[in-house]
Symmetry: C2
Subunit: 393 residues, 2 copies
């Protein structure tokens, strides 16, 4: 099977070497990565098997990572990675949902068998699929080792994108723009919400110019009317009314690299307060993206945005953006840098963010977001959708 890998072996070698440097600096001999995005970034491993325990192991003294997972998924590791066969290790099937034992009992055994039973081991303590129970079994199985939180070590290594990664980010932006366009063409009074969403999914996967899309880490989100006051509702069979506010947050993924986008739409003539809020948001985004250059801190970008909001009588408590890139469900954020007060990280060229400018008031909300790359000239927008409150009359 000709499985077309997304990056060259050189790129994976570079990532592994960066990761090892960070491990040395943090005092880890061995890293246990369960976050599917970290597994994919390090090795290319790809498949929807993250609902069972699995991980990639990186040891500072080893040339190649180890893949550990369910035996029936080992073949997917052979097909999607260049990991040597001897480093692809499947756990026993009987451990799936076992009441007493756990696949990480065998992971501990594997670690010991390699002579790493006394290692300083970094684990992804807060990764979505790294459960408290898995951690207990791994800890119990490695009584001589010292396990501690790797504090998103690999996520941080992923922060600055390579040129090869930026190609996928830009392609994701193109697909996302086309997908939003399709949604806007479909949205009209009398159309049930789910029909809009069906078009969105179709466009996400079809991609643009033969460049297909992957599943996105969040499903398409649509909020209507009062629903626009909260961000994460999904579709229903209600038909879009004649006169209403609609918010859509959608994404597109190219080889699992994400461009997310939010737009606010009004069916019929929009009320003045909504028009006003949207204008302020667009102005705030423009000001912030203009600032988003290497050397500027994350919190300064947020402050610039907040200043525009405040001078117009609004404010936004939640962070206004977060780092994006390669990801898997349930989140397309990288869980590293947020654009918010107190975040001192300096932006560098090649970092990518979703500037999520949603303002959710008591009874309605609006958002006109932009995914962007940090460049010397400010934030380079990945999408090219109308930057305004979109009125469909």
């Amino acid at each position: 099977m000709n499985y077309n890998k997304p990056f060259t072996p050189d790129e994976y070698a570079r990532r592994l070497s960066q990761t090892k440097s960070r491990m040395v600096a943090a005092g880890f001999d061995l890293l246990v990565c369960q976050d599917p995005a970290n597994m994919g970034w390090l090795t290319g491993f790809d498949g929807w098997s993250f609902y069972v325990p699995q991980c990639v192991l990186v040891h500072v003294n080893e040339d190649a990572p180890i893949w550990f997972g369910r035996a029936q998924d080992a073949k997917a590791a052979h097909l999607t990675t260049d990991i040597p066969a001897g480093n692809i290790v499947g756990f026993s099937e009987r451990l799936i949902h076992h009441a007493e034992e756990h696949p990480f009992d065998e992971l501990a055994e594997l670690v010991r068998s390699r002579g790493w039973g006394s290692a300083r081991i970094g684990v992804e303590l807060d990764a979505h699929y790294y459960t408290a129970r898995g951690h207990q079994h791994l800890t119990a199985g490695l009584p001589q080792a010292s396990l501690s939180d790797s504090k998103e070590l690999v996520n941080w290594a992923r922060l600055i994108k390579s040129e090869a990664e930026l190609v996928y980010m830009r392609e994701a932006g193109v697909i996302c723009t086309a997908t939003m366009q399709r949604a806007l063409e479909k949205i009209a009074p009398g159309v049930p919400e789910y029909e809009v969403i069906a078009e969105v999914y179709h466009a996400q996967i079809m991609g643009v110019d033969g460049k297909f899309g992957d599943y996105t880490s969040l499903c398409p989100l649509i909020q209507v009317g009062e629903g626009t006051s909260t961000p994460h509702l999904t579709w229903t069979d209600e038909v879009l009314p004649d006169n209403t506010l609609i918010m859509m947050e959608i994404g597109a993924a190219r080889r699992h690299y994400h461009a997310p986008l939010t737009r606010t739409i009004h069916l019929g003539k929009p009320p003045a307060p909504v028009v006003d809020l949207a204008k302020v948001i667009v102005e705030g985004v423009d000001v912030a993206l203009e600032m988003a250059r290497p050397g500027v801190s994350a919190e300064d970008v947020e402050a610039a945005w907040q200043k525009v909001l405040n001078k117009n009588g609004y404010s936004k408590e939640s962070r206004v953006g977060y780092s994006i890139g390669l990801n898997y469900p349930p989140d397309w954020g990288e869980r590293t840098v947020s654009l918010r007060p107190g975040e001192k990280t300096e932006l560098q060229a090649g970092m990518c963010f979703h500037f999520q400018s949603g303002v959710w008031l008591d009874d309605y909300g609006a958002a006109v977001s932009e995914p962007f790359i940090v460049t010397e000239n400010g934030g380079e927008r990945l999408c090219d959708a109308p930057r305004e409150l979109i009125v469909i009359d």
Copy 2:
């Protein structure tokens, strides 16, 4: 906003009461449910916010559950549940991805403030989103309490479906059948894999007869050629060749209730070994479903299937089925009963399973699966797709 709740208040009251009985039997005063399906089953809560810490609390002496989550998602709890406003508690936004603090610090505070600081607390130790770090913070914040694994207590309470739930299961089956049909219409030599998937997504959401579909807990899976030897690969831009084996596992979700389905397709005249394997699988499924009646044990159903395989020279190591129902990504299995050796649970009317009859050999595989309801007359199939190796010539 007219958010159309999937069940009556009576049904939620019944679920809560069942859960409390199980809590008493297991010796818990308080339950912390983070599994999105458990949150939804107990309260109706719905939204794609499970990528941040959130949970539903159930106390044996309290009439109503408590929703705890991100402040910006609290409105979704107000809209989608009947939880009294005073029991919907948002955590501080600054705790999102905070290096030292964690939202569960405030959860511990909430538990203490209700006077439950010394309670016997059940937590979902192995739920996908219950991270090791969250557990450490909750434990540290409740030094007087005793925290222990609830061992999927609510998942087990979900095992037997009510009549109202079975309505959604059957509707999901109808949507899944239509979706598979659409895929089969699209599959042909020369068509890129992703074009098939785009149709699948569209059909999943459009549903049937105005009954729309929700996002499914697994994305559509397609494996081609040698890829059929492993189950969880996703689509590429390769075009389907003239003469090849294809396996597709797809699902449909109706109000988040799932019917999953796998079919094996051959483009062109299929080789004899594949025809033979598929025939054996279909026979095994028929025998097993015939047996799937109240009072029969889960392991006996598996044994009947395995016997058909063995007498034909095949075997399947992994479990041949698992309980299904309400679910959220990343898995549509309920993580309770598996159809496998050693599983003594007796089937009861209203339990639902995905009979996942996939047999993955070294170089290829085949599967002709069926989602079904346990009834007095054996397994009632939820889908009505061709029960055979599907040949497209």
